[in-house]
């Protein structure tokens, strides 16, 4: 029963509060996660710090200058959808995406906002500005849910994070098996390589094969299967997966961003975000189900205009537009959901430091592809982009939309270690206008 000792026992031990039918359904679901009906993958871009919605996606040109800011709207490819003048590339691809202008939640704390927008559920703490807590162990991130419930390629890990681990991107109670495979390197760097996947210097491939043969021999030498403990056997599984990844030509190719043509690399922009987008496309192409990208830092409390215009937006504008064009040209946009999201928006009024502060009451995110409707906006805010006036969308609704698009029932219930049934998307409903 060792296997059942913690999550197992508690998982089962906690079925007590459910009706019999629920128990059977849950036991079934936990034993045999239902494979999603369709294979749609996700690239999830998180602009960390809080993206200024009114300077990018939800312009208010008629508001007074201290509200509307320094940027003016420009017309985009879709008549009636205006975006910021600092998004010239994105303006040409609005026919491929949906702008959701009515996101709203109640927490202006980075940590809580990050958590709620990565998982669809509030972590249960927050309200404490910049409380510096690693919070990935409260609810599982969307990527971990996908890793848990989706079937993926056998070689590449189902959930990958680049260019670093994301604090709210962890598996929480689902366990480390569903943690992201983290590519801790910047694909824009000339020295980019994926940690530990390539053989260390001085170890050629024939030598590596000798080592692997020796290892198999030493672990199994004259042992009967039943003498090999369960713990060792579960390690075996991961050694096998790791070895397949190391030796797979497919994986090698996916990670080898240098193999991409110079013109494609330039089209995405030689920036961290641009090259992360390009790497994400390669990974999805090779069988990853969920690639999350963190980009920052967008916390523009000071010099908002300059930061956006010169430091942050150009890379996003170029990289994201290139990603959408590239996916579309390859016929992959329908099977790849691209999400651009953030913790929250920024205050309507520009502060004394020429910055904008945290504003969770209303903000915008972008979704594209994955079979969702394109070329539209959803929801609206008031004249100051301060409050939602039409069609509020919660983080749980966003999570439900992502999961639904990926073919996973957002109402699927999983049990936490203390036995609380938790719906994947926290009870959120998919944004039906997109479906």
């Amino acid at each position: 029963m060792h296997d059942l000792n913690r999550r197992g026992v508690l998982r089962v031990g906690s079925l007590a509060g459910l009706g019999l039918a629920d128990v059977l359904r849950l036991q079934h679901a936990q034993a045999n996660p239902v494979a999603p009906k369709k294979e749609i993958n996700c690239i999830f871009i998180f602009t960390i710090g809080g993206m200024a919605h009114q300077d990018l996606w939800d312009m208010k040109p008629d508001a007074p200058p201290e509200i509307r800011g320094d940027f003016m709207p420009i017309a985009s490819r879709v008549p009636g959808i205006d975006v910021s003048e600092i998004l010239p590339h994105m303006a040409r691809v609005t026919d491929k995406l949906a702008i959701l202008r009515s996101l709203t939640h109640g927490d202006s704390d980075h940590t809580a906002g990050y958590h709620v927008m990565m998982t669809g559920q509030h972590p249960g703490f927050g309200g404490n500005f910049n409380r510096n807590v690693q919070n990935n162990n409260v609810h599982p991130s969307l990527g971990s849910m996908v890793a848990r419930l989706a079937q993926g390629s056998n070689t590449l890990p189902p959930y990958v994070s680049v260019p670093n681990f994301m604090n709210s991107g962890g598996p929480a109670f689902l366990g480390p098996s569903y943690a992201p495979f983290v590519i801790e390197a910047d694909p824009a760097s000339p020295e980019f390589s994926v940690r530990d996947v390539v053989l260390p210097a001085g170890v050629a491939s024939d030598r590596s094969r000798r080592r692997q043969a020796a290892l198999r021999e030493i672990n199994r030498f004259e042992r009967r299967v039943e003498e090999i403990s369960r713990q060792e056997r579960s390690f075996d599984t991961f050694y096998d997966k790791a070895y397949r990844l190391m030796t797979s030509a497919e994986a090698k190719q996916a990670f080898d961003i240098e193999g991409e043509s110079e013109s494609t690399r330039t089209a995405y922009g030689m920036t961290s975000l641009g090259q992360c987008c390009l790497l994400a496309r390669r990974l999805v192409q090779a069988g990853c189900r969920f690639v999350s990208i963190e980009n920052g830092h967008w916390d523009t409390h000071r010099k908002n205009t300059m930061s956006l215009k010169e430091l942050l937006v150009p890379a996003l504008d170029q990289g994201l537009a290139a990603l959408l064009n590239d996916l579309d040209e390859r016929g992959m946009l329908d099977s790849t959901l691209v999400v651009l999201t953030t913790e929250f928006g920024r205050t309507p009024r520009i502060n004394v430091m020429a910055g904008r502060d945290h504003w969770p009451q209303a903000f915008s995110i972008v979704m594209a592809g994955g079979g969702l409707k394109r070329g539209l906006t959803i929801g609206a805010t008031d004249k100051q982009a301060a409050y939602v006036t039409d069609r509020p969308i919660t983080p749980s609704d966003m999570a439900a939309t992502v999961l639904s698009a990926l073919g996973i029932d957002p109402d699927t219930t999983l049990l936490t270690p203390v036995g609380r049934p938790i719906q994947l998307a926290g009870g959120g409903k998919p944004v039906s206008e997109l479906m």
Binding site: G13, F238, P421
Partner: protein
């Protein structure tokens, strides 16, 4: 006891013993007609029926019958679903399987037959026609619970379901009453046209219901809800008895594989009355592969082992312990289990009961490596291994256990273990706070101070957090609620987090209990004196109220009958005195269980810090023994010696013919992966190439680190915990692909293997030959000389490559091998 027909043997010894095993019950006995001529030695087959007497009061009451046979060899066998039932007067009652249902008022008898035995039970039926006044708490809510309406996946979840919210498991009677009767503009209950009430029409499927059909139209439950609405939806009936507890039968039972056992659950009320709630209670097994349970019926599977079934009914809990011994003969080749100490006697008794034979004693080298890793988080050096193996004395294991306990690494390792439990998180406590608390912890272990003394110091800590380590505990747990939750779990193994928001679903703890504990910490101040530093002190007791009801709660330790008398000053002193007392039901037990799990790989109770009554120990006498010994002087090293010197700790991992599946009873050693810090140190030590940690002096080992957030990729991926919640589950040993990739390919590890001045480099510089290199590397990694397989594997590598490369490849192979990564 009514003996319908008896033999002269009925009152003999075995029968009395049997009565003790069936504490809750019965007894109508019929013996075989021939019994009187059968001697006691040959055994008597007897049939028992529970309950002794059946009383059905009201229309929807039923009575589950439990029929037990004592077979000729003395075993108790559930024959409920094999028996034939007859009601003497068919017009008064009928049977639905093994359940008696009343049809009309009157007196009759239930006749139970199985094989040649027959038992009669009197049946009294009253109040079938015309509903007695319906009570919301006693009659209505149990139906909602039974149908699953208020479970956490449905209307019981915090947000309710489709606008209709019930308290989870019906813990809040008033709120549920309001929700049904006062909300939704009276559509849920509609006295003017009772059957159109949503309470009936939804679950009966008359109008669409997301939860499906839950209530059959016209069923007794449906009729009762209807009667309640017709009676005007009363909240309570005057003088209604209160539910006081539930009892279950059987309390424990030994079952065969692939068999079944009916559970009988009875509710007891304040007026002395009882009610059969078998069908309305919830049942959960903690080991469904051993024994699964559905609606009160247990099915055992193929796997031997133990299971506990938790029974819940309206906030009351009980549990049934089930043992399924391994079938078949004892292992003929098993070595005799010679007890080293009292621990082994209790383990042996349990193994005999489960028909398991223990594995043989592990060899000396395995023993030494195991003791070193488990006690000081450190591999033995090649010289230590050689010295230990060469020593002829028969008592050397005990002496080397003492040697390990006296090593300075003992304090390093145990302060690491406890820093996890006490949430010594640099991110939350700041550098000064985390460092001071860690340093203080290390001192407790270094001087082997009494556990009760240092826990008291922690619980009552006040002072400047930058200067006085223990004060930081209250910066790690910084609200009264968090303190109640974390400290109850860390020192008592009582998990209260559920009870913060609702009645604990698997325990007796209510919100009252929770806030009565939280109150001890209400008044604790953490006055910031500089960034990351605070003055911690108790400013005197403040009134604590339960948020939902706004009801004030007096300070009361868990399970204490009466609140503590109000006292001046810091109430934590009283709390600590109660908590660390030898008589405290959990304090010593939790420490003993943690220690057992640390050394044996599995707690006697699992999870190790969840000592609830419904989560029983797999060997309660052993846990009690450990706790009793420990509470004599709260000396951790004495407790460790008791465990480490036991034969049980020193068993081999290799299974014999009987115990390959045993993962509960310690018939063999359960292997575990080394913890993250220990493994990193082990790699450095084996490769002869230390790691350097940012901000720490050269030579610092990973087990000495106080900073749990130090950026260190190896520790991150191998499961260094974040120390944000008090359970050791934060420290996971689950494997991941990143770990395997890192061990195989990381340049950091390769540079240790092949680096200048490392073990391989030094061996080659000393012109060591193949045999010497292989021996040295095996001693350094596996803690033993090479065996046939190591020699064979190494030789192939030495044939294929020049010595340096071959030696590096062999070290790589050993560092990736399971004999290295795991504690065998």
């Amino acid at each position: 006891m009514s003996v319908v027909s008896s033999s002269s043997n009925t009152r003999s010894g075995p029968f009395v013993a049997l009565l003790r095993q069936l504490p809750a019950i019965l007894i109508c006995v019929i013996c075989q007609p021939a019994a009187s001529s059968v001697s006691a030695e040959q055994g008597i087959q007897t049939l028992f029926v529970e309950p002794l007497e059946i009383n059905l009061r009201g229309n929807n009451r039923t009575q589950q019958v439990l029929v037990t046979q004592k077979s000729v060899d003395g075993r108790l066998l559930d024959v409920t679903h094999l028996s034939r039932f007859e009601i003497a007067h068919e017009s008064l009652a009928r049977m639905s399987a093994s359940v008696v249902c009343g049809l009309a008022d009157g007196e009759t008898r239930l006749i139970v037959r199985h094989e040649n035995s027959e038992v009669e039970v009197p049946v009294h039926i009253l109040g079938v026609a015309g509903y007695p006044p319906v009570d919301f708490a006693n009659d209505v809510l149990p139906i909602l619970s039974k149908q699953g309406c208020n479970n956490g996946g449905c209307h019981g979840k915090a947000s309710g379901q489709n606008g209709f919210k019930l308290s989870v498991f019906g813990f809040d009677v008033d709120a549920d009453f309001d929700s049904l009767v006062k909300e939704a503009r009276g559509r849920r209950v509609f006295p003017a046209s009772p059957e159109r009430s949503l309470l009936l029409s939804k679950p009966a499927g008359h109008v669409p219901h997301g939860g499906g059909l839950r209530l059959e139209h016209g069923s007794p439950d449906y009729e009762l809800l209807l009667a309640w609405i017709c009676q005007g939806t009363p909240r309570a009936q005057p003088g209604t008895p209160q539910l006081q507890r539930i009892t279950v039968s059987p309390l424990d039972r030994v079952l065969a594989t692939n068999s079944q056992q009916q559970i009988l659950t009875t509710a007891h009320y304040s007026d002395g009355g009882t009610r059969d709630v078998t069908a309305a209670a919830h049942y959960t097994s903690n080991a469904p592969l051993v024994a699964d349970v559905q609606q009160g019926l247990v099915h055992t599977g193929q796997a031997p082992g133990e299971a506990a079934v938790t029974v819940q009914y309206m906030g009351q809990v009980a549990s049934v312990q089930l043992q399924v011994p391994r079938a078949g003969q004892a292992d003929a080749n098993a070595q005799p289990f010679l007890a080293n100490n009292a621990v082994d006697e209790l383990v042996a008794a349990k193994l005999a009961k489960m028909n398991l034979s223990p594995s043989r004693l592990c060899d000396d080298a395995t023993f030494l490596r195991r003791v070193w890793i488990d006690t000081i988080g450190t591999l033995p050096t090649p010289d230590e291994v050689r010295e230990f193996l060469a020593e002829p004395a028969a008592d050397k294991r005990g002496r080397w256990i003492d040697r390990a306990l006296d090593r300075p690494e003992y304090a390093d390792y145990w302060s690491l273990v406890w820093a996890d439990i006490l949430l010594v998180d640099r991110q939350k406590l700041g550098e000064h706070g985390a460092h001071e608390l860690h340093r203080w912890l290390r001192r407790q272990f270094d001087q082997n101070l009494r556990y009760d003394v240092w826990v008291t110091e922690l619980i009552t800590a006040s002072g400047n957090s930058a200067l006085y380590g223990p004060a930081n505990l209250y910066r790690a747990v910084d609200t009264p609620e968090e303190a109640a939750r974390s400290l109850s779990q860390a020192f008592l193994g009582v998990r209260l987090e559920c009870a913060q928001c609702h009645h604990h679903p698997f325990e007796k703890w209510s919100q009252d209990d929770f806030y009565a504990m939280a109150g001890f910490f209400n008044g604790l101040e953490r006055k910031v004196i500089a960034p990351g530093r605070a003055l911690v002190y108790h400013a005197g007791v403040r009134e604590t109220r339960i948020p939902i009801s706004n009801k004030p709660v007096a300070l009361r330790p868990l399970g204490a009958a009466a609140p503590l008398p109000a006292a001046e000053g810091d109430p934590r002193v009283l709390l600590a005195r109660w908590m660390t007392a030898a008589q405290n039901p959990w304090f010593a037990k939790l420490a003993a269980n943690r220690m057992w799990k640390h050394f044996l790989g599995r707690g006697l109770v699992e999870p190790e810090d969840d000592l609830r009554s419904t989560n029983p120990s797999t060997n309660e006498p052993l846990l009690q023994l450990l706790a009793d010994r420990f509470s004599q002087d709260f000396d951790l090293k004495v407790l460790m010696r008791l465990i480490l010197n036991s034969r049980t700790y020193q068993l081999a991992e290799t299974p014999n013919g009987s115990n390959a599946d045993d993962e509960q009873n310690f018939s063999r050693h359960y292997v575990r992966r080394m913890p993250a810090e220990v493994m990193l140190d082990a790699i450095c030590q084996a490769a002869g190439s230390p790691e350097s940690f940012v901000g720490s002096p050269p030579g610092t080992r990973a087990i000495e680190l106080w900073d749990n957030r130090l950026p260190q990729y190896f520790l991150e991926i191998f499961g260094r915990p974040e120390r944000t919640s008090p359970c050791e589950c934060g420290r996971t040993s689950e494997p991941t692909m990143s770990q395997a990739l890192h061990l195989m390919n990381a340049p950091e590890i390769e540079s240790k293997i092949a680096g200048e001045g490392g073990r391989v480099d030094r061996l080659l510089a000393a012109n060591a030959d193949e045999a010497r290199i292989v021996e040295e590397l095996c001693l350094a990694t596996l803690g033993r000389p090479p065996g046939a397989r190591e020699n064979a594997v190494a030789h192939e590598l030495f044939v294929a490559s020049p010595p340096r490369q071959a030696a590096e490849d062999f070290l790589w192979t050993l560092l990736n091998s399971y004999d290295f990564l795991f504690v065998k």
